[in-house]
C-alpha cells in the first residue's frame, strides 16, 4: 500500500532517487539544492542505497562524471541550481548529443548578478536549447514521481535522452508536503534496471563523441532534433503507465477552468497553485478566467497548448526569466510563436514577475490579468517594480 508521509520535498526527491536504485550520484553543493544531495550522501553512507556517491569538485565535473558513468550503463543522477547549472552547461549540451539518459533535478534559482539565492527560472532558460527532455514540477509529489518517470522515459530505447526536472528553489525544495510514497515493488515494476543500447565495455568496443565535419554535422543535429521531438509519445506513455500504477496521471499541459475561458493565464512550476486561487477569485467576480500550466517544456507540446487556449481572446503569460532586450520572456516567446500561424489567435500579453524570490500572491495575478486587458500584446512588462 502506498503511504502518505509529510516530509521536505528535497528529502522526498532523494528517497525517490534511492527507490529508483540509482547507481551514481555526482553532485556539488549549491543552495538551494543541498538538502537533496545531503540526504543522498546519508543514504549511501548508511548503506541504504548501493550507489557510488562522487563528491565532485565542481558542477562541470558532476555532469562529466555522469556522462562517463551513464556511458558505461550506470543509472546516473545529479542535481544543481543556478550558477552550478551555468558552470556545467557545456556538458549538459553534450550529454544530450551523446544520448545519455542522465536524470537531473534543478532547484530553480536566479542567475547572478546581483547574486541572489532565491527562486526564478533564469537558470533553466539559459539551457533551453540543450536537447534534454525538460519538465516543470508544481509540487513535491510531482517532483517525487518524476524521478521514476524521468528515468523510465530517459532510458526508453525510443528516447535515450537526458531528463531534467525543474523544481522551484525553496518554494518546493524546502517545503514540507504530504508525499504519497510508492511501494518499492511498484517502483521495480515501473522502472526495471537500465539496459543500455550501447555502452563502453571492452567486449564490444565503441567510439563515443567523435567529431563531425560539415559533411555530417547537420545530419547529426537533425537526428538529435528528431529524437527529442519523437520522444513526446514515449513521455506520454511513461505518464500513462505511471498513472495506471499510482492513479496519478500527468499531461504535457494542465488546464484549470479553461473550457469557457476568455482570459487564460499561463504559468510554469510551483506558482500554478497560487494562480488557481486567483482564477477562482476572478470567476467569483464574474470573469471568464482560466489557467494553463506548462508541465512539459521540451519537447514543447504545441498541439496540446493550442488546444488548451483555443477559445481564449487574451492569453497572459507569466515569465520568471528575462530575455534582456528581446521580444519577451522565454515562455512568452514560445507561446507567441506557437500561436502565430493560427488563423484566429488570442492577444498574448507578457508579464515578468516572481524574479529572484519576489513573492507573487493571488492578488498579484488578479492585478496582472486586469492590467493585461489594456496590454498591447507586444513586448513585456516587469511586474511590481518599486520606486
Amino acid at each position: 500500500m502506498a503511504i502518505k508521509v509529510g516530509m521536505e520535498v528535497s528529502i522526498a526527491a532523494a528517497e525517490a532517487v534511492k527507490q529508483a536504485n540509482t547507481d551514481i550520484v555526482a553532485a556539488y553543493p549549491i543552495t538551494p539544492q543541498t538538502h537533496i544531495v545531503e540526504h543522498l550522501a546519508e543514504l549511501v553512507n548508511n548503506g541504504d542505497l548501493d550507489a557510488e556517491f562522487i563528491p565532485v569538485e565542481s558542477e562541470h565535473s558532476a555532469m562529466s562524471v555522469c556522462a562517463g558513468s551513464s556511458a558505461v550503463g550506470a543509472r546516473s543522477f545529479t542535481c544543481t541550481s543556478s550558477q552550478g547549472l551555468a558552470l556545467m552547461s557545456e556538458i549538459v549540451y553534450i550529454a544530450a548529443s551523446l544520448r545519455l539518459p542522465i536524470l537531473m533535478l534543478l532547484a530553480n534559482r536566479s542567475l547572478s548578478g546581483p547574486l541572489g539565492i532565491w527562486n526564478d527560472h533564469s537558470d533553466v532558460m539559459s539551457i533551453r536549447d540543450c536537447g534534454w527532455i525538460q519538465v516543470f514540477a508544481e509540487n513535491g509529489q510531482e517532483v517525487y514521481d518524476h524521478v521514476f518517470i524521468g528515468y523510465r522515459v530517459a532510458e526508453d530505447r525510443n528516447c535515450l535522452l537526458p531528463f531534467l526536472v525543474n523544481l522551484d528553489g525553496f518554494i518546493l525544495t524546502h517545503m514540507v508536503e504530504p508525499i504519497e510514497m510508492i511501494d518499492q515493488a511498484v517502483v521495480d515494476r515501473y522502472l526495471p534496471p537500465y539496459k543500455p543500447l550501447y555502452s563502453l565495455h571492452p567486449d564490444h568496443p565503441v567510439t563515443m563523441g567523435a567529431f563531425a565535419d560539415p559533411a555530417l554535422y547537420t545530419e547529426a543535429k537533425k537526428a538529435q532534433d528528431e529524437a527529442l521531438k519523437g520522444s513526446l509519445p514515449y513521455i506520454m506513455k511513461g505518464w500513462q503507465e505511471f498513472g495506471d500504477l499510482t492513479g496519478r496521471y500527468y499531461h504535457p499541459i494542465e488546464r484549470y477552468k479553461t473550457e469557457d475561458a476568455k482570459v487564460i493565464l499561463v504559468t510554469q512550476g510551483s506558482l500554478g497553485g497560487t494562480a488557481s486561487i486567483a482564477i477562482d477569485n476572478l470567476r467569483e467576480k464574474g470573469e471568464l478566467a482560466g489557467l494553463v500550466k506548462i508541465r512539459l517544456w521540451r519537447p514543447f507540446p504545441f498541439k496540446e497548448f493550442r488546444e488548451a487556449v483555443k477559445g481564449a481572446e487574451l492569453v497572459v503569460v507569466m515569465d520568471r526569466a528575462i530575455s534582456y532586450g528581446g521580444p519577451g520572456g522565454p515562455l512568452a516567446g514560445e507561446i507567441r510563436s506557437a500561436l502565430y500561424a493560427q488563423e484566429r489567435r488570442p492577444r498574448v500579453v507578457n508579464v515578468i514577475a516572481g524574479i529572484a524570490g519576489r513573492d507573487v500572491a493571488p492578488e498579484d495575478f488578479e492585478r496582472m490579468l486586469q492590467q493585461a486587458q489594456q496590454g498591447s500584446g507586444e513586448g513585456y512588462e516587469i511586474y511590481g517594480v518599486r520606486g
Binding site: D23, H60, S64, G68, A74
Partner: protein, 322 residues
C-alpha cells in the same frame, strides 16, 4: 646501477605485443610523436581498457565521424574534463560489477589529454579525481603548446619558445614563464604513482604505463610528445629531439612510487642544452644570455630532482637507485 634503456631495445621489441588498439589510418601530422605515444600507451594497456579522451589533437586525428582509430571503448566529451569522465567510467564500472550487473573483471580506465587539457583547463578536474582516489591512469601527452588550435602557448610551453601567442617579438622574446611542473603537482596529491616518459624511449614508456595500470589508485604518466609542426622541426627528427630532451636534462625521465623518486635514466653528465634547442625553430631567436639562463635552470632542476631521489631513498641503506 644505471638503467641503460637503449641496450634493451632489441630484446624488448620482440617481447612487445603485435596487437594494436590504436590502429593505422589516423590523421596525425607526419612525424607526430604524440600519435606514436598514444599507440604505445594503448598497446601497453591492451584490450581491457576504456579510454576517456579530452578534446585536442588526439581526439581530432583519431575520431573523424564515421571513422575511428580505436579498437578499445573510447569516449570524448569535452576539453577540460577527461579526468572527471574517467572518474565516472571507473565508478560506473565498479558499482555495476558490485551490483552484479556486469561480470567481475579487471578493466583499466585511462584518461588522456594534452598539456593544455591537463595543466591548464583540465587541472581542476584532474586534481579532483586524484583527491577522490579513483583507480585510473591519467596520461598527459605533452607537446608543449595548444597544437590543435595552431601552436598557442600553454603553461607547459618551455621558457623562450616562440608560439603564435608567445611570438618572438622585438620587445618580448617568446614564452616568458617557465614550464609548469605538472608531474610535481601530481606528486603533491600524494597519489601512488607518477612517472615521466617520452616516445623516444618506447619500452620505458610502456613499462611505466603498465605499472601505472597495475597500481590501485590514481596514476599519472606525463609523456613528452615531440610535435615537429609546432616545434618547427624536420619531421624525421622527432625521436632524436625526444632523446635530446632527456639527455640534456630538459625532460628527465623518472618515477615517483608512493613518494619514492627513481631516475629512469641517470646521466652523469648532461649534454649542453644548445644541442636540444638548436634543432628547433621555436628556439631560433634565443640569445646566448637566454640560453645560459635556460642551461642554469635545467641544471638546477636536475640537481633538485637528484636530491629528491637521494632523500626519498635514504632508508635504502646506501643502495643507490641511480
Amino acid at each position: 646501477m644505471i638503467k641503460h634503456l637503449d641496450r634493451l631495445s632489441v630484446k624488448k621489441a620482440r617481447q612487445v605485443s603485435k596487437e594494436e588498439y590504436f590502429v593505422p589510418g589516423h590523421r596525425a601530422c607526419q612525424g607526430c610523436a604524440e600519435a606514436l605515444a598514444v599507440r604505445l600507451v594503448a598497446k601497453a594497456l591492451g584490450k581491457n581498457n576504456v579510454i576517456a579522451c579530452a578534446t585536442g589533437c588526439i581526439e581530432i586525428f583519431s575520431s573523424p565521424m564515421p571513422l575511428t582509430s580505436w579498437n578499445v571503448p573510447w569516449i570524448h566529451v569535452a576539453f577540460e574534463n577527461a579526468a572527471a569522465v574517467a572518474s565516472g567510467i571507473e565508478s560506473g564500472l565498479k558499482v555495476l560489477m558490485r551490483k552484479g550487473r556486469l561480470p567481475q573483471q579487471k578493466i583499466n580506465v585511462t584518461a588522456m589529454a594534452g598539456d593544455g587539457g591537463t595543466s591548464d583547463i583540465g587541472l581542476q578536474a584532474l586534481s579532483g579525481a586524484f583527491e577522490r582516489g579513483h583507480n585510473f591512469v591519467y596520461c598527459c601527452f605533452d607537446n608543449e603548446a595548444y597544437m590543435n588550435t595552431g601552436i598557442q602557448r600553454s603553461s607547459a610551453t618551455p621558457f623562450g619558445a616562440s608560439t603564435t601567442t608567445s611570438p618572438a617579438g622585438k620587445v618580448v622574446s617568446g614564452q616568458t614563464s617557465w614550464k609548469k611542473n605538472m608531474p610535481e603537482i601530481a606528486v603533491a596529491h600524494d597519489i601512488p604513482y607518477v612517472a615521466t616518459a617520452c616516445t623516444s624511449y618506447p619500452f620505458d614508456l610502456m613499462e611505466k604505463v603498465k605499472k601505472a595500470a597495475s597500481i590501485e589508485g590514481p596514476a599519472y604518466v606525463h609523456i613528452l610528445s615531440v610535435c615537429p609542426t609546432g616545434w618547427r622541426l624536420p619531421t624525421h627528427l622527432s625521436i632524436h629531439a625526444g632523446r635530446l630532451a632527456v639527455k640534456t636534462g630538459m625532460f628527465p625521465l623518472y618515477e615517483v612510487e608512493r613518494g619514492r623518486y627513481t631516475l629512469s635514466v641517470d646521466l652523469p653528465k648532461l649534454l649542453p642544452i644548445e644541442e636540444y634547442l638548436k634543432i628547433q625553430g621555436r628556439f631560433r631567436h634565443l640569445t646566448p644570455e637566454m640560453i645560459k639562463g635556460i642551461q642554469k635552470r635545467v641544471r638546477d632542476e636536475y640537481e633538485k630532482l637528484r636530491k629528491k631521489v637521494q632523500m626519498t631513498n635514504e632508508d635504502q641503506q646506501g643502495k643507490a637507485v641511480s
